[in-house]
Amino acid sequence: MAKKKNGEKSDESSQNSDSDLYNEDEEPSFSDPEDFVDDISDSELLGDILQQKPKETDGYESVIVVDGVPQVGPNRIEKLKSVINKVFSKFGNLVNEYYPVNTEQNTPLSGTTKGYIFLEYSDPSHALEAVNLTNNFKLDKHHTFQVNLFTDFAKFDDIPEKWEPPQPRPYDPIDNNVSRLDLHYYLLDPDAYDQFAVVTTSGQSVQIWQNTLPEPNIVEERSNWTQTYIKWSPLGTFLATFHKLGIALWAGPSFTQYKKFTHAYVQFIDFSPCEKYLVTYSPQGDPQNPDQKRIIIWDIRSGLEKRSFNPEGPSAWPIFRWSCDDKYFGRVGNDVLSIYETPSFGLLEKKSIKINGIKDFNWSPSDNVVAYWVAEDKDVPASVTLLEIPNRNEIRKKNLFNVADCKIHWQKSGDYLCVKVDRYSRARKERNEMKYSGMYCNFEIFHMREKQVPVDSVEIKEPIQAFAWEPVGTKFAMIHGESPNINVSFYEVKVGLAPNLLKKFEKRACNHLFWSPNGQFIVLAGVGSNGGGSLEFVDTHEFLVMNTTDHFQMSDVEWDPTGRYVFTGVSYWKCKVDTGYWMWSFQGKILKRVNLERFAQILWRPRPPTLLSEKQQKEIKKHLKKYYAQFESKDRMRQSKASKELIEKRAALMEKFQQYREQQIKRWEANKPRRLALRNNVDTDEFFFNVVSISNADAVNFEEEVVEFFIKEEIIPVD
């Protein structure tokens, strides 16, 4: 078959070369030479031949070459064919096969097959799949298949002797070609303004704003940009939008579509921390395409699917958790912790780590260390273990007793780990479910940077509402107690010392903690329908409450990546009235109230971590005074410019209005006699009216009336 194809191909190519010749010789000559080209269309002239025209699928793309096939005599060839068919027919319909046979006479091998075969599929994609999955396929001990596409032979034959490095392309920052997009354009703003995205459910419009002073500027607005919500990638490079058919990523100066990831009915996504990979999750799957896996991991740059999974049972999103450098990701299974490697996407050391009773795990944000916890089992106590990856070295293990539940909280810089342990005094079993009573709580603090990782415990007798590490620094905050006696406590951890209580705020109305991304400042917020929308801005340096205020029905609190601004929002998803977002300074001063109908979501665009070394940052902090003057003069200029603009705008409006009024008043004055006629010649145009015409008898009937009042003073308290 392959040979026959070859023949056809050569015919075709000779035809092509002929037609090339015609084209070159074609001249505006009206004689009818041998190379006369008729204007009758090809289909009219040779419809019957055109029907046999090679189609795209007729090439060699569907042909694969399998080497390492057992050499058999004519008597066993049928058997071989059935074995081969069994292996290869699962990738697609085999339309052709060819088993070359030794034709040499008088050798022991004569009449046997040559050990390689040609197979042709009906579709090139099947051939490709067969190559991907059967190359290195072990048929038995002595026979391993080497499978290649037939076209690859030609490709590798043609490699030129000398390799030439590709020419570097000139750099163009606003080129919209996706492969050359400047993905970090937004970071180049000279004033380092941050961006934020606003989603409204009416028309699913998405707005991208730049938080310029004195007024934010809209950068981009598109309706129907997303069908549900949006998500920024963790370093802020990409904007992910959700669609029925999958996820689209947008990037660059004008938010060009960067990649599409087709995954029908996708609802959740997760980026790897370095933005190399994207995990998409379609919990219901696609009813039209039951083969679609529910979780797919993609390579963002190439847009290719790397691996897909079907999760067993319900589990909390994200199911897969990534190590800080994108090298590994893992998930918890039944008594196993499965760690996968990238870029191979295979299991690390080809097997999962067997851990009996593993409940949950989390990666350190700075090192390739996982912390996991194991539930109690009869005689075995519960424990928290730190495990180094990939060498599976157990760094630290701590046993715990009477454990109902654990929550693993890593500090953002990876210096500390806090495990919040819910403990019980009594437990009983009820219909296969454990019921606990007499709950209290322990915090186990692991000092990651010290030798042998010492662990400290803090015990709290009250239920814990929230816990949060200071992202940069050594403090943590928690909300504890039961309504209405809700307290907020701040602890500090130090090298070699047990955590000590710094401050306790009593009787606070809050249920969530929001640290500034740079630490020190924290917002205590009452979020949600029963949170009351209270807001308290605290400086934890001296535990100064900078402002206490509220945003009623607030559902979101968002710090900007630099820790200068806070957004509070009332989302249409939670509450139907008074939706909108308010912007506050980090001190709790209201800067802007935007009441937006059907407002749904607001997200600051994240920033990658600073490239300055710690020393450079210190240097800047030391000389901060030097910069103040610059910034202040800049601010002043902006302010005066803004007020100038506003005043110009107002002046223009006023002028226009006054012109309009002049005409009106002219009209009105022209009508004065008619008005006077209607009101018995009494001029009521002014508040203190006067009688115009004494001659009218009616008009003189005015007399002054004196009304006497009792004046009684009464004090009414008014807020």
């Binding site: 209005f657 009106q664 008619r674 009304v707 008014v718 807020d719």
Partner: protein, 326 residues
């Protein structure tokens, strides 16, 4: 600014109006007795007794001698303002939603509700002689309204046209000589709760359920300005002395229980007439504001609310000193 709090009504206030001199303040409510007060000290001068239902609308003529009221008991009544006696009672087929005297007070207009199988209808009365005969006279003109009902009404200052605001947000100008539509616009999406003139009657402001108040030219119905809020606007008034407007409104009464009064949505809100910028709020009511009115001297204003109180606010000196830069 310490307000006078007028507590004479048992139910929520529907409409308040000053007389032309501003010494008297008239109020009507869902109870059946319109009240009249001295605006200076808040003393009640008297009540107009006779209606059997919700009094939706009231008006007083320019001489403060005639008083008209329309009510849910299917009647429109004319009163002697001085004595508070009912002079005429006009029976209607459905409740009377709006009423107003003409500029000369020779005529009055009222409109009825689309209810009880009746279509909305505008009727013009001759009220030159205020006596019992008005009860039986045929209106000078009847205009049946087939579309959306009239929810607010204004009479121009030449007794020639009336402007009606409708439930669907439409505004229609009518020529009374022929009883035909002159002009109509639809700038609002929802019910127009209130319309009020500026001092000289060349512009009027509308208050709509669509969360906005708008300023229009009286002759051409050209939209001039829009004042935006987050709540239905129930009433709006233009200051006679400054370029200010005041808006009153709030949550719809049925939704009040789900809103905290702290959220500050029951405030009177002051906007600049030209710049459309909000510059002040006045708190006080603990329910939506249904009607606002400026004193004709512009030195005080009043608001009547769902909470049943009328609050008379005298402006502080800071109000008069406040100036927009332009």
């Amino acid at each position: 600014m310490k307000p006078l709090i007028l507590h004479g009504h048992e139910r929520s206030i529907n409409q308040i109006k000053y007389n032309r001199e501003g010494d008297l303040l008239f109020s009507s409510s869902k109870d059946n007795k319109p009240n009249v007060w001295y605006s200076l000290n808040g003393e009640r001068l008297g009540t107009f007794n006779g209606h059997q239902g919700v009094v939706w609308c009231i008006d007083v003529d320019w001489t403060t001698t005639k008083f008209i009221s329309g009510a849910g008991d299917n009647s429109c009544k004319l009163w002697d303002c001085e004595t508070g006696k009912e002079v005429a009672n006009i029976k209607t087929m459905s409740s009377v939603r709006t009423c107003m005297f003409s500029y000369s007070a020779n005529m009055a207009v009222y409109s009825t509700d689309t209810a009880m199988g009746q279509h909305c209808q505008i009727a013009i009365l001759d009220v030159r002689t205020l006596d019992e005969s008005i009860s039986h006279q045929d209106p000078i003109l009847r205009i049946p309204i087939s579309g959306s009902r009239v929810s607010s009404i204004l009479w121009d200052n030449l007794d020639e046209t009336i402007i009606t605001g409708h439930e669907n947000g439409e505004i229609i100008q009518w020529d009374l000589k022929v009883g035909k539509k002159l002009n109509s616009i639809k700038e609002h999406d929802q019910l127009i709760n209130d319309m009020q003139w500026n001092k000289d009657g060349t512009m009027f402001i509308t208050a709509s359920k669509d969360h906005t108040a708008k300023l229009f030219d009286a002759e051409t119905l050209m939209l001039l300005k829009t004042y935006k809020t987050e709540r239905p606007v129930n009433s709006a008034a233009i200051s006679p002395i400054a370029e200010h407007v005041v808006l009153g409104g709030g949550q719809e009464a049925m939704e009040v229980t789900t809103t905290s009064s702290r959220a500050g949505k029951f405030d009177s809100r002051f906007f600049h007439l030209v710049f459309e910028e909000e510059f002040a709020r006045v708190k006080g009511h603990f329910g939506p504001i249904n009607s606002v009115a400026f004193h004709p001297d512009g030195k005080s204003y009043s608001s009547g609310g769902e909470d049943g109180y009328v609050r008379v606010h005298n402006f502080d000196s800071s109000y008069f000193e406040y100036n927009f830069d332009y």
